[in-house]
Symmetry: C2
Subunit: 297 residues, 2 copies
Amino acid sequence: MTLEEYIELINKKLDEYLPEDKFPQDIFKAMKYTVTLPGKRLRPIMCLEACRIFGGNIEDAIPTACAIEMLHAQTLIHDDLPCMDNDDFRRGKPTNHKVFGEANAVLAGDALLSFAPQIILNYSKNLSDEILVKIMKEYTQYAGAYGVIGGQVVDIEAEKNWKNNVFGVKPEELLEFIHTHKTADLFKLSLRTGAIIAGADEENLQKITDFAHKLGVAFQICDDILDVISTFEEMGKTIGKDANADKLTFVTLYGLEKSKCKLCCLLDECCDIMSDMGVKTSVLSDIISGMKRKAGL
Amino acid sequence: MTLEEYIELINKKLDEYLPEDKFPQDIFKAMKYTVTLPGKRLRPIMCLEACRIFGGNIEDAIPTACAIEMLHAQTLIHDDLPCMDNDDFRRGKPTNHKVFGEANAVLAGDALLSFAPQIILNYSKNLSDEILVKIMKEYTQYAGAYGVIGGQVVDIEAEKNWKNNVFGVKPEELLEFIHTHKTADLFKLSLRTGAIIAGADEENLQKITDFAHKLGVAFQICDDILDVISTFEEMGKTIGKDANADKLTFVTLYGLEKSKCKLCCLLDECCDIMSDMGVKTSVLSDIISGMKRKAGL
């Protein structure tokens, strides 16, 4: 399947899984609003593609792939809140709390954190209980304090304080931690669960995790670069905010040119891992070349 | 085991499960703060006791019981936020956001929603994958939009608007919905998972669910009554707030005397179900008589 075919399939399934008419409608509308905003669907695509390249049936990974997109939407809803990044726009539309109010946005995020694994449990008809338990372990690990939430906590604290060796660690280490957990961990969750559903062995699981880590960090560096060189129209959110706020990013710490070099290296390493695994995937290659193109490499 | 012995066991295990020294410490401290505030531990006690009365080994239910207390703490942290109930005190101590700030309180709640099921998955050594999947299904159902979050959404909307037939339903039905989901659903989760771990049959599972529903609604009516007749010292939170805000509660809708009658009826029905099941449990009887005593019945 191509990237476009994957996106179409994922959008159709996300729409199917999320009800609109259940009482209380407010919460389901708020959940659906952010989940179904047009997006690149990178995480669910990676999950499906990992399943495919290791010989699995992508049908079996669809609920997990969609659940990860819902989890991603949850992080966006809460990250945009006034008490966090206080963003008014996301994917070119008003943020969740701007449309549904702050209380409903908090609750929509909370609801998604349970709704997403519920989708995996209720719709993965062909998966054994053993595989479901493995996936739930991955999900809870990467979604929580050891994963994406841990990354967000440090990101928020670092935003105000990174020049003062907050948490007693150097800015370089802080940034590494933030990128690893805030971004790469959902990439790992996506690629690892896809591989687990396909029954990949431990060696391949390790390689795809390494790939996910590098791609995730590269993605965040690319995002930092785009915050400097892109426009609102291209990104669908407020641009230049990080630089204006003197936020800890790859670009503020290392400068634009060095950031581009690091991005290029990481993406090349991703390609090396793919060659090493001996898998053919134009989809993952397209994601990598898309990032290079956007960052002007 | 007595109520006191259960509380001691649960507090010891909660402390064990929640790390203090993991990086970033801020989030683990914030999670631990609210989870370990002194509380009645009703939900985990119900889980352990349901396991015991249906012939299970309570050791097997401890991770699930503690996870439900963590989930309960999550609902308290988010319910107390400025954009929701805006409460400054909980269990006699400053609320989570008062101590750790609003962003960390949102994230601590988010983290608990993944940490709680992770505890179940990682520490329930004697449970089969089949039972674990069943418990995860229960957890995600009652924790999410179909459960406690659905109740909270309606509660918040009703607070401002209940006299105007908000959501197009009568206040009596709204109140029933709120009590069922905001309170009784976590009682159902507790008692049902305990019973499932013990291998209870479908008939007993239905009976314990019915018991949980009645006890949960009774608990909320009791809470509404105490908001009128109790003091800050007894409750550990601001008192008279609901009545002052003309909030939709059992007491504002039906008056104090009728609320007491309803409470009494529900608790008697709970006793009938226990007799019908033929189980002996001084612990659940003590919880029931404790509610009667507090409400002055």
